[in-house]
Symmetry: C2
Subunit: 439 residues, 2 copies
């Protein structure tokens, strides 16, 4: 134990009705919630009561029109985070945005503005868009190939970092009486690269965090490279200890190879927790919230999702991990699919067992509050993860249950805060203040 005690980090996703498309049938509230700013305020207040590090908004600039589900990404995340920051103190905000379909200048300006307004509580989750429905909202061109999207995302963040630090705060002190400012404190960046040409300077000075904390969500090879270069908080899907340790090593080794301090990276994967008075109750809730209705239903979905021939499939036979390696050329988030193949390559599991290990691609933990707390602490205690991003099946219900029943246990075990102490997200996550070219 060092002087500063290592702490469990917990974020919570609060998109619309919760993480699972079908769980809305069992939630408190009505369909107007998803478009109601007061609803998001209530969710954020609930998260604040639970002393979460931050609330997390995933995003996707296109409407997903599953008639059986619900709209998932509606109100613009940064706009929503900005208003929530005015309404709820202390807690941080993770806003997802696309590096494929934004310009670095506008995005750097907006996010620095939101960071200033929130007093340094902004984390931005930069994603490289992978969906043709998104591309179709931004022109006639198809999606660029994956490698190009990641190269563009990396240059995007290089430019954003230079813009965020294009004002020299040190010059603020020494200004003649007859001048309002030292105009030379803001310097052009004159960037000219493969994807972007940006003169600068930004018209917003350096913010309370130097720049917003950068989260990164990819776990494909390109995603790991981007995480190693730029990610400060890594959101990913880690389904087991060996898979998590391998992932963490890979990201940190790559960071070292790029000359970056690997201690400036926090890994907070997604987590779906379903609580019950006992494990059996949690299993039944899982079957309901997933929309499959039963264990057989979960297995049938597993067969379908993985393109398995159902004829003669034995749900109690050990699965072959080779069978589950995702095709890197398919048009979707490759990283998400890797979770299952990584799990199976480290543990011998049957389909019946595997369906209880993940939900919506993320680690699933089922059981009593004590069992869930144990499972969370388990991978945190040895540093496999730095914490989790809770993805509640239902909002507000599963956030409320977690805050009421699990948080006190985590506090009793001494791994989780009992009050907010830090002001900025960099302080809360123990991340360094970023390099500024002015020194």
């Amino acid at each position: 134990m060092t002087a500063t005690k290592r702490q469990l980090h917990l974020n919570v996703g609060i998109n619309t009705t919760g993480y699972l498309a079908n769980a809305w049938r069992y939630r408190t509230g009505d369909r107007h919630d998803i478009n109601n700013p007061d609803y998001y305020r209530r969710l954020t207040e609930l998260a604040h009561k639970g002393l979460f590090d931050a609330v997390f908004f995933s995003d996707h600039p296109a409407l997903m029109t599953d008639p059986n589900g619900r709209p998932f990404h509606t109100i613009d995340p940064l706009i929503l985070c900005t208003v929530l920051a005015a309404q709820v103190p202390d807690i941080g905000f993770v806003a997802t945005m696309s590096s494929t379909y934004n310009s670095p200048y506008n995005l750097a300006r907006r996010t620095q503005s939101a960071d200033i307004i929130s007093g340094g509580r902004m984390i931005i989750n930069i994603v490289s868009s992978f969906n043709p429905n998104v591309a179709a909202n931004f022109g006639a061109e198809p999606l660029p190939p994956r490698s190009e999207r990641y190269a563009k995302a990396s240059e995007f963040l290089d430019v954003a970092k230079r813009l965020w630090s294009s004002w020299d705060p040190a010059r603020e002190g020494d200004i003649p009486e007859n001048r309002f400012w030292d105009a030379a404190s803001a310097q052009a960046i004159d960037h000219s690269g493969d994807y972007f040409t940006v003169q600068g300077p930004l018209n917003v000075p350096v913010g309370p965090q130097g720049h917003p904390v950068i989260a990164q969500a990819g776990t494909s090879e390109g995603g790991i490279d981007l995480a190693a270069r730029h990610g400060e908080i890594i959101y990913c899907n880690i389904l087991s200890r060996p898979a998590g340790q391998a992932f963490g090593r890979k990201v940190r080794d790559r960071a070292i190879a790029l000359g970056r301090d690997p201690s400036a990276i926090r890994i907070v994967p997604g987590l779906v927790a379903i609580l019950g008075k006992n494990r059996e109750e949690a299993l039944r809730k899982h079957e309901l919230f997933s929309g499959t209705g039963s264990e057989d239903g979960l297995i049938a979905r597993f067969i379908k999702d993985n393109g398995i021939n159902p004829d003669g499939f034995d749900p109690d036979a050990v699965l072959d991990p080779e069978r589950f390696i995702p095709d890197p050329n398919r048009i979707q988030a490759v990283g998400m699919g890797l979770g299952l193949s990584d799990l199976l390559s480290h543990e011998q599991l049957t389909a019946r067992q595997a369906v209880r290990r993940s939900e919506g691609h993320h680690r699933l933990v089922l059981g009593t509050p004590e069992e869930v707390a144990d499972a969370i602490i388990d991978l945190w205690a040895d540093g496999t993860v730095d914490g989790y991003t809770l993805q509640p099946p239902r909002a507000p219900d599963d956030i409320e249950e977690f805050v009421t029943n699990v948080i006190p246990i985590l506090q009793d075990r001494g791994v989780y805060r009992t009050a907010y102490e830090e002001k900025t997200m960099r302080e809360r996550y123990g991340l360094p203040y970023p390099f500024n070219r002015f020194g």
Copy 2:
């Protein structure tokens, strides 16, 4: 007088230290204000006390680095308006944004989000960027020619309007028990035009105003065309009654020619008001706030700004209006320059007189609170204008003086509200709810 009494509309600009670059020397506050969200909250509260229709943020996505002035456009206007809407009730927000350097999908989503969050208090001022320093922040390409920028802006708004209304609110009522929503309530727009290809639908439903009110700021030919097509609130520079009447006729005639109801347009030009115990005091303040120091200084600046040969120039000779028609090909806001030539073509003025008629391109009114109130009512009473957008030389000082001294006179005269009554900006401005393709 009809059943609904016609009302004077007043907005107030609250960029950084106020409208005039040099007036900061005479303002209350320090240089940290411009980057401090609490400062903008205080200005908005002051505007709320004065019952202004809305606060106005001009914008420019580039840093203007005049060492003698101050940064003018810093924090992103929409981010700032979003947080201010959470902090200050009733008042509206005009956020300026570029149609040249934004994508319609992102902008439509962000602004609809902000409109929902503010309960229908958003006005968006869509401008076609004219500055090469802006272009240099968004790529290596030079600015497109003016005609192309306006054609692009018009198509931009066509697309945005279709996105804003891509959900059918009527389908909200009739949803089966086992469904969260009617996914068919959101329809693709499948736009494919000269500048944009956008599939849609938007992932945000229709907002409280149908869509945010659209303000338009250009007064060049292209700007008038855009205003006639799309503008609901026109921000412009009108320096005299005949010029204002000619402008209003032109915009409304063009709207009619385009098949649009001209009664759905409000004209609220900029206005710089400088108050004094008497006119002499106001004149001296004008000389100080303009940074010219004296009447001779104002005349010298006039000579310089208009490229006049100072040798033998007689400041008391009547000016030739032909001399002041701006070159439509120069790289700046042509509309602004037209104000002066329009003024001179309708009134015989000397340079000594002309310098007291506008400041920062806008109508200047100087004198006691009664004189200023009279001048405001004068052009409003016969419908030349629907109101004004006050551009206070100094913030907060000139807003405070106006609220304390001029607002009560306008209220006494029965032309200005004594309390907020309407919720949305459409209601406040008496603008129609926009057309929705679902009827």
